[in-house]
């Protein structure tokens, strides 16, 4: 009787077991695929943001020095904007896509950069593809 009951259970439960076994294997495979696929997207997005932030940083730090060294250019207003931009950049966690104020801060940085450029009366060409940096996909 007990053996029959066991067999019956086996048949009834079989559906779940088959599904479950397939699921286990699929889950492992899917986890690997997810990492690979996610990385591919992430690398491109991260590189884009790194490139843009790096440009701003290099530009601002170099100009800060140029403004310092040149007596003619000692303009407190320009200096203030450069300092402000550098401060914004320093506090921006450019390598963290989960940063909650990423877009907000990025917009402020871009705005400050444009302000600096117009103050300096220069138009650098960074070939930055703006507005394309996402948290996720």
């Amino acid at each position: 009787m007990a053996v029959e009951q066991d067999m019956f259970d086996t048949v009834v439960m079989a559906d779940e077991r088959f599904h479950g076994e397939g699921y286990q294997e699929g889950y492992e495979e899917g986890s690997n695929l997810g990492i690979v696929e996610g990385r591919r997207y992430g690398t491109l997005h991260g590189a884009k943001i790194g490139s843009e932030i790096g440009c701003y940083r290099g530009f601002a730090l170099a100009w800060k020095c140029l403004l310092h060294s040149s007596a003619v250019e000692k303009d407190s207003r320009k200096m203030k904007v450069v300092e402000a931009l550098i401060a914004l950049l320093q506090h921006f966690p450019y390598d963290d896509p989960t940063y909650e104020r990423l877009h907000e801060d990025l917009d402020r940085i871009r705005g400050k950069f444009r302000q600096l450029c117009s103050l300096l009366n220069v138009q650098p060409d960074f070939k930055v593809t703006a507005g394309d940096s996402g948290l996720a996909f």
């Binding site: 048949v11 079989a14 077991r17 088959f18 599904h19 479950g20 076994e21 397939g22 699921y23 286990q24 294997e25 699929g26 889950y27 492992e28 495979e29 899917g30 986890s31 690997n32 695929l33 997810g34 990492i35 690979v36 696929e37 996610g38 990385r39 591919r40 997207y41 992430g42 690398t43 491109l44 997005h45 991260g46 590189a47 943001i49 790194g50 490139s51 843009e52 932030i53 790096g54 440009c55 701003y56 940083r57 290099g58 530009f59 601002a60 730090l61 170099a62 100009w63 020095c65 140029l66 060294s69 450019y94 963290d96 896509p97 300096l120 220069v122 138009q123 650098p124 060409d125 960074f126």
Partner: protein, 225 residues
């Protein structure tokens, strides 16, 4: 899936020497059962892949993002610095030779950056061929292939054919990787002969700054590169 094979044994009664008709029926039931098992396993597999992917996709994205950002930011720094020097030159009416030199260096940085990006993309691990082979074997997807070729197949043949085809494909993708690698190397070789390499650009930038009569402090933030 060893226990899957074991299940039909439970179903097939020990007394097979009854009547031929009954024996056939048992066989039919067995086949039906096996087909059903396979379908359920496949369904489970698909569900599992989706679930596993959903969990790790964001994790992979975050990892890649950090990596990409950290590697590329240095090139951005250099590019930004050169742009600042370029705009400074424009403002102060410096000689066009210096300006074109800065432009050349900017191009070089761009080339370097592109090469690094290419490498980053190709470094991304390919799905392991053995794993895929395993799962394809398990999923028993191969029946599609022989159907086209009208081969009276045994299970072994099917698998062979499938794995052969798969190997072809994986060879192809491997070649693809090699190509992009060698392409990248070629650009780098080329780079060493004529241009890029971050160190070379940095050296050139330093001498350029001196020619401009600007303090080398302007490159202070590039020392970490």
């Amino acid at each position: 899936m060893s226990w899957v094979q074991a299940v039909p044994e439970i179903l097939s009664p020990g007394d097979q020497d009854v009547f031929d008709e009954e024996a056939d029926e048992t066989l039919l039931v067995q086949r039906e059962w096996q087909g059903h098992m396979r379908r359920r396993i496949q369904e489970g597999y698909r569900d599992g892949v989706d679930a596993g992917k959903a969990v790790t996709l964001q994790q992979g994205f975050n990892q890649g993002y950090k990596e990409g950002a950290e590697v590329i930011i240095n090139y951005g720094l250099l590019r930004g610095t050169l742009s600042a020097l370029l705009s400074w030159c424009h403002l102060h009416g410096n000689s066009s030779t210096l300006i074109s030199k800065i432009n050349d260096l900017l191009d070089a940085v761009g080339q370097c950056e592109e090469c690094v990006l290419k490498r980053l993309k190709s470094v991304t691990p390919q799905p392991q061929v053995t794993d895929l082979l395993d799962s394809i074997e398990d999923m028993d997807l191969c029946h599609v292939v022989p159907a086209e070729k009208k081969i009276d197949e045994t299970k072994d043949e099917r698998f062979c054919e499938n794995s052969a085809e798969f190997n072809k494909n994986s060879d192809k993708s491997h070649n693809g990787i090699h190509c992009s690698h060698s392409e990248c190397c070629r650009t780098q070789e080329h780079a060493h002969l004529e241009k890029p390499s971050l160190t070379w650009i940095l050296e050139q930038t330093t001498s350029l700054v001196k020619q401009l009569g600007v303090s080398v402090d302007v490159l202070q933030h590039l020392r970490q590169l």
